[in-house]
Symmetry: C2
Subunit: 124 residues, 2 copies
């Protein structure tokens, strides 16, 4: 029995999964829930620059895929908490690594870009 799924295959269902993971804000939301449940406004404040509309869309998508859970308390004013499901926590492992990689390699990337920029100039 070989591998069941392969993202390199055009019609493999894993591509839709990858597409969801790769969505612009998924890595932010999943990482933001790393240290426990958070409320909507809390998430919005933590993930700087995200708009309420996009945050809502992202949360709904992740909920549909079973990566986060939404718990609504019957209070007024409203009180809603989002948390990672076990499946979401398993995704957190690679996504945390991606986040860390991005944060740790900023200087290397910027240096490469500067070098590339310079090479382009030299060719003129």
């Amino acid at each position: 029995m070989g591998k069941a799924y392969n993202v390199m295959a055009a019609t493999c269902p894993s591509r839709t999964v990858l597409h969801r993971i790769g969505a612009r804000w998924t890595v932010f939301v999943v990482n933001a829930l790393d240290d426990g449940p958070r409320r909507f406004t809390d998430l919005k404040a933590h993930i700087q620059g995200i708009t309420p509309k996009v945050l809502t869309e992202t949360l709904r998508s992740l909920e549909a895929d079973g990566l986060i859970s939404r718990h609504e308390y019957a209070e007024n004013p409203p009180h809603v908490e989002y948390a990672l499901t076990p499946l979401g926590r398993s995704l957190l492992v690679p996504l945390r690594a991606v986040r860390l990689w991005a944060e740790q390699h900023v200087p290397a990337i910027e240096a490469a870009r500067a070098r590339h920029e310079k090479d382009a100039d030299d060719e003129v």
Copy 2:
């Protein structure tokens, strides 16, 4: 001395890095170079469904960021090879994990989507 970079901050340079990593085809190209250098046509065949234009754009971006190297042999017909740089190989580690996660959790995601679909129907 605290952490230098934080993707949660709106203006942090790590966001541009994350944006590049998150580009639709980055994870495919980096993973495709996992087991050694490949030629353009080889990549295109391996990453099913990618168009030459998009593949070129992705390769150029990754090259500009110092993640892959492009080696051109002075032959006719043309012979060009792409390979991961050390920096690119360091990115391969988390991106390979992302790819594996996507491939391994297809059934879980599909089950969650079906459940979600059913819940939506039940509310009607």
